[in-house]
């Protein structure tokens, strides 16, 4: 009697090579679909245990993602506040102006300098004079920054949208003042009243002149309200006896094109400094950079703790399936497929948890997407460069990053359980009762 299938025995060499080659379609290949199927069913086999683990992963992922949107919101806020507060993305200044601001560090604007700017990259620009000054009412005296502006160019700064009590400046020849609410309170003054300004002229002599208040602006930060006093640029140039400006501030439509714009400005203003907002507002820039890093830190703390739970669950799953895994090995599943089985299971749990987490985060986010009112904390937040209405921000790259890092952790977590699984000897496993 002969067998139905298979080659006849005989020459061992032939048979051996036949043995290695014949099943080539299945050899060296990991049966991915089968493993996915097992993993999926196993996930449902221990609903409670896996449910708890999945909830923990989902909550952690959602927590990290929501925290991310808050951090990003904070980051954007700090950045925008820094940029709004007369900084812009890029600024042209005379060397030394930052350490010792004054009209003696003013400069001429060459005609047509703005041709170096790519209109697609730039939202707008403003040329200003900004000098330290002392302001006096009948009662009080304060040190301030006196800023000569062309109101038409200020669409790039907070002034454009700020609420004003009284009137705005009508043009760069307007010889009136717009001051902040906080300063108005300190000086106990009102629109229409007069204030006296003392500052240093281009010739080094002190200038003193009376100005009438056109209006009082509100800013989101009271610090700003007490620091900046605005008047028309031509009017200020008259007072100081100069035709110079002290700064050109450029706001970009497209933030990533900062470097390119800076390079272009450097060609137009060879002797001047061209600085980015990061150099001008180092504190805000540090906070923004910190927010970038803290996303990783929070992720590692929260998800790192979870990995132990995952490892524990996987080891338990391996230990209680020793017989089953041993049987699979006995029936001919290769060791590497057993490893792949554990890795697949871990990845599946992680992927499911991450998917639920992202969905939960999306749901919660949609509730707070319009912003969170933090008016009660106004002053303390303002000193961090934050505004009282706080708008969380979702960045797709953060979501992808968290998902990818979670899946990577899932792989790491499966390493030890997989080692345990692959050490199972089929015979010993089958003999266990």
């Amino acid at each position: 009697m002969t067998r139905e299938t298979g080659p006849p025995g005989g020459d061992p060499e032939n048979s051996r090579s036949e043995f290695s080659n014949a099943p080539a379609r299945g050899r060296n290949r990991i049966p991915v679909r089968l493993l996915l199927q097992f993993s999926w069913r196993n996930l449902w086999r221990h609903r409670r245990r896996n449910g708890i683990l999945l909830s923990a992963i989902a909550v952690a992922v959602a927590g990290v993602l929501l925290l991310n949107t808050l951090l990003r919101g904070m980051q954007y806020d700090m950045m925008n506040t820094a940029i709004d507060n007369l900084t812009g993305h890029v600024k042209v200044l005379a060397p030394g102006y930052l350490d010792d601001p004054g009209i003696e560090r003013g400069f001429d604007t060459p005609p047509d300098w703005q041709q170096v700017l790519d209109p697609d990259a730039v939202e707008g620009w403003a040329a200003r004079i900004r000098v330290p000054a002392v302001i006096m009412s009948e009662r009080e005296t304060r040190g301030i920054q006196l800023v000569g502006i062309d109101p038409e160019q200020e669409s790039i700064s907070f002034l454009h949208t700020a609420a004003i009590e009284g009137e705005r400046l009508t043009g760069r020849g307007d010889r009136r003042l717009v001051i902040g609410q906080r300063l108005a309170d300190d000086l106990a003054t009102l629109p229409g009243r007069r204030l006296v300004l003392v500052t240093q002229g281009a010739d080094g002599r002190t200038r003193e002149a009376g100005f009438r208040i056109a209006g009082i602006y509100r800013a989101e930060m009271s610090l700003v309200e007490s620091a900046f006093v605005f008047t028309g640029r031509d009017a200020l140039q008259d007072l100081l006896g100069t035709g110079d400006v002290t700064e050109i501030s450029v706001r970009l439509a497209d933030a990533p094109r900062e470097a390119e714009t800076m390079a272009a400005l450097a060609t137009a203003f060879e002797d001047l400094d061209v600085l980015s907002w990061r150099q001008l507002e180092p504190q805000a820039a540090t906070m923004v950079a910190f927010a970038d890093t803290s996303i990783y830190i929070y992720f590692l703390i929260v998800m790192g703790a979870l990995v132990f739970g995952l490892v524990n669950t996987l080891v338990t799953a391996v230990m209680e399936r020793i017989r089953e895994l041993g049987m699979l090995r006995a029936l001919g599943m290769r060791p590497r497929s057993v490893v792949a089985q554990v890795v697949t299971e871990s990845s599946l749990i992680m992927a499911t948890g991450v998917a639920i987490g992202i969905a939960v985060a999306g749901g919660v986010f949609s509730l707070v997407a319009d912003g969170i009112d933090l008016t009660a904390f106004d002053d303390s937040l303002a000193s961090f460069g934050m505004r009282p209405i706080f708008v969380p921000v979702v960045e797709a790259t953060d979501v992808v990053l968290v998902a990818v890092m979670s899946l990577a952790l899932g792989l790491v977590a499966s390493f030890y359980p997989a080692r345990r699984a692959v050490k199972i000897k089929p015979l010993e496993a089958l003999q266990r009762r």
């Binding site: 005989g10 290695s20 449902w44 049987m327 001919g332």
Partner: protein, 228 residues
């Protein structure tokens, strides 16, 4: 003479871990011709299971040579032994060892899946095998929803769906009542006679011995008698 499916030469398996080394098998010579159904008999601890395990590549002998279907299997790497078991051997254990999360059909099918057989062929061969064992209606049931005899038949289906060179069954009837055992033995006889499957069973059960073509008696790891 028919070709030899298994040739064991001076095979020993010694458990040296114990204080006194246990010689589970001691210089066993054993041949199995294609189409035979041999039953291994002997008292408990005589080495029946051990012999099945070394023949099936589940255990490695400490000494000797084992050729299965023309391939010397002693000294093969773990992955190669896996392939040997997957492609050439069918196992039926005392405990049925079905995967609880898979249906009967899937339990049979996944072996073909491990072999890399395509979906349609896999399904068809599995269904045919369940059919030939008289249990097509069990296809969608999970092991928890089947009796012991039914599970054992599914286990046999799983063992033969790959058309193995050799079917090894260790105490296949140990958990079954007489009537079910008889049905099981009919199934095995049918496989042996009509499909030419070569079978080795290890058992204490005299009923099983009545069905086989040859009986090999073991005692203390040695072959004592062999005859039909």
């Amino acid at each position: 003479m028919a070709e030899e499916v298994v040739t064991c030469r001076r095979v020993s398996r010694t458990y040296a871990e114990e204080a006194v080394p246990v010689h589970a098998l001691c210089r066993v010579d054993f041949e199995l011709a294609a189409g035979e159904w041999v039953s291994l008999a002997g008292p408990s601890g005589s080495g029946k299971s051990t012999l099945l395990h070394v023949i099936g590549g589940l255990d490695q002998p400490t000494e000797g040579s084992i050729v299965v279907d023309g391939v010397e299997i002693t000294g093969l790497a773990a992955a190669d032994l896996s392939d040997l078991r997957l492609h050439k051997i069918g196992f039926v254990f005392q405990a049925y060892n079905l995967i609880p999360v898979l249906s009967a059909l899937e339990n049979v099918e996944f072996i073909l899946q491990l072999q890399g057989v395509g979906r349609a062929e896999r399904r068809q061969r599995s269904l045919e095998t369940l059919d030939s064992l008289g249990i097509p209606e069990l296809a969608d049931r999970r092991p928890g929803e089947m009796s012991g005899g039914q599970q054992q038949r599914v286990a046999i289906a799983r063992a033969i769906v790959t058309n193995p060179v050799l079917l090894l069954a260790d105490e296949p009837s140990a958990n079954l009542d007489t009537a079910t055992t008889e049905e099981l033995l009919d199934v095995l006889r049918n496989l042996n006679r009509s499909r030419g499957v070569t079978i080795v069973t290890a058992t204490h059960d005299p009923m099983v011995m009545g069905y086989t073509s040859r009986q090999v008696n073991l005692r203390d790891g040695r072959v004592v008698t062999t005859g039909s």
